[in-house]
């Protein structure tokens, strides 16, 4: 099977499991909504204030939910030694990483397609008018998150205390895409789609490309036995 074929097979398998069971997706979505709620409760029903920090709340909800779902990335394989099987399958083990990466991106983006409108309702944001640039930012931020996240999820897979180690390693690494996504989301909502946004888009593109190359390159080392 070609590299593309192997990657596609893994993506197809994971998405099929997800579509049939919907186990992750529903709980992820409700968890993300709950995070938005909890923040609003903690901050108080001050709508102008919530509106000003909405982009930050939204992306924190996405990152928290993303981290929870990352730790499930390789769960389907864990039970019966499936990862061992995937690794022993002929060909480049990078296909595992790429397959899991695209699966994670798809799952997160699907969740964001509901979470963005939900936050618009909760915080009275006007996202419909800026739908296209916002979608672009969501994709850039989600790719950056997933590239590093899928890698660290594989690295911490066999560790004791991986539930705490994954966020410990991941969160400092996520500062650039977080800053990029939050600031550009806020700027777009404020109606400044051509000004400073370019700087943040450039940062996110640079981050996504750099870590996509590096993580794909060294993935075999992270999972070798």
């Amino acid at each position: 099977m070609s590299m593309t074929g192997r990657v596609a097979a893994i993506v197809w398998k994971d998405l099929l499991i997800e579509v049939r069971t919907k186990a992750s997706f529903h709980s992820m979505l409700f968890f993300a909504a709950l995070v938005l709620f909890v923040f609003s409760f903690a901050i108080g029903p001050d709508v102008p204030l919530l509106k000003r920090i909405a982009a930050g709340l939204l992306w924190i909800a996405i990152i928290f939910t993303g981290i929870l779902s990352l730790s499930r990335t390789y769960q389907a394989e864990e039970a019966a030694g499936g990862l061992e099987g995937l690794r022993m399958a002929p060909g480049d083990p990078r296909a595992i990483y790429l397959g899991k990466l695209f699966g994670n991106i798809a799952l997160l983006l699907a969740m964001e397609m509901i979470l963005f409108p939900a936050s618009a309702v909760l915080f009275q944001l006007e996202i419909a008018r800026h739908a296209l640039p916002l979608a672009g930012i969501a994709i850039l931020g989600t790719v950056g998150f997933s590239v590093v996240g899928t890698f660290y999820a594989a690295l911490t897979l066999n560790l004791r205390a991986r539930e705490i180690l994954l966020p410990l390693l991941l969160i400092p690494a996520l500062i650039p895409p977080l800053l990029g996504a939050v600031n550009s989301t806020q700027l777009i909502l404020d109606g400044n789609p051509l000004g400073e946004v370019v700087v943040w888009v450039r940062l996110m593109v640079a981050y996504d490309v750099t870590f996509f190359v590096v993580c794909t390159w060294i993935f075999p080392i992270a999972v070798e036995e």
């Binding site: 410990l168 800053l179 992270a222």
Partner: protein, 223 residues
């Protein structure tokens, strides 16, 4: 078998002596800063500690790459020693920075670009040591932490850049003032002293790690 190297002992003595001289020069001989007064003397610890910490971080990266290429536990022990000692220096950098910031800026902490990215650097180091702490098998520990060491090193410049942009888009960065040659020389003196101390501590920590590994092997053999 292990014997203490006399070279390492001399390194320690030289480091201590130079640190003593550097502290005396920094505290009593160099003139107090015209604007900020004596508090500026903290910079003779702060700046060399920061330089040493950044060097330590670079060496963790080098040690990690060498380990993955050569698969020799020596490089792993070197990288781990640099990370542990590096944490001490970066904590020292942050602590002196905050003590300096309180009288100068009026607050212990401000979301300054360098301050924030240095704190994040500390978080990366802590992650590196945490992944080591939770892994028992020496080969897996070396391999996984080497990966973290490399990724962490790559992420630092981009994190720094993003934090700079985050700050500068909101307020202008504080402009660095020109530094007199007297201050520069005291920095250099202290930097050399810190470097020697760093080298001494890394040598001792690597030696300790080697002895620990030997002990582990012996114990495994006995049982």
């Amino acid at each position: 078998m292990d014997r203490r190297s006399p070279l390492v002992a001399w390194l320690g003595i030289a480091a201590l002596t130079l640190m003593l001289i550097g502290s005396i020069v920094g505290l009593f001989i160099v003139q107090a800063d015209a604007e900020m007064g004596d508090v500026q003397r903290l910079m003779y610890v702060h700046v060399p500690a920061a330089w040493t910490a950044f060097l330590a971080f670079f060496l963790v990266f080098i040690g990690s790459v060498l380990y993955l290429v050569q698969r020799d536990q020596r490089f792993d022990r070197f990288a781990a020693a640099c990370a542990e000692v590096g944490i001490v220096f970066i904590a020292l950098t942050l602590a002196t920075g905050m003590i300096w910031g309180k009288p100068t800026w009026g607050v212990w902490w401000t979301w300054d670009a360098r301050l924030t990215s240095t704190a994040l650097l500390l978080a990366v180091f802590v992650g590196y040591l945490a992944i080591r702490g939770f892994t028992d098998d020496p080969d897996s520990r070396a391999r996984w932490s080497a990966v973290v060491g490399i990724l962490g090193f790559i992420q630092v410049p981009i994190v720094y850049l993003s934090v700079v942009w985050w700050r500068t888009l909101h307020q202008p960065p504080s402009s660095p003032r020109s530094v007199s040659s007297e201050i520069l020389w005291t920095w250099m003196l202290n930097f050399v002293a810190f470097l020697l101390m760093f080298a001494y501590l890394v040598a001792q920590r690597s030696r300790l790690a080697r002895v620990e590994a030997e002990l582990e092997a012996l114990e495994a053999y006995d049982v």
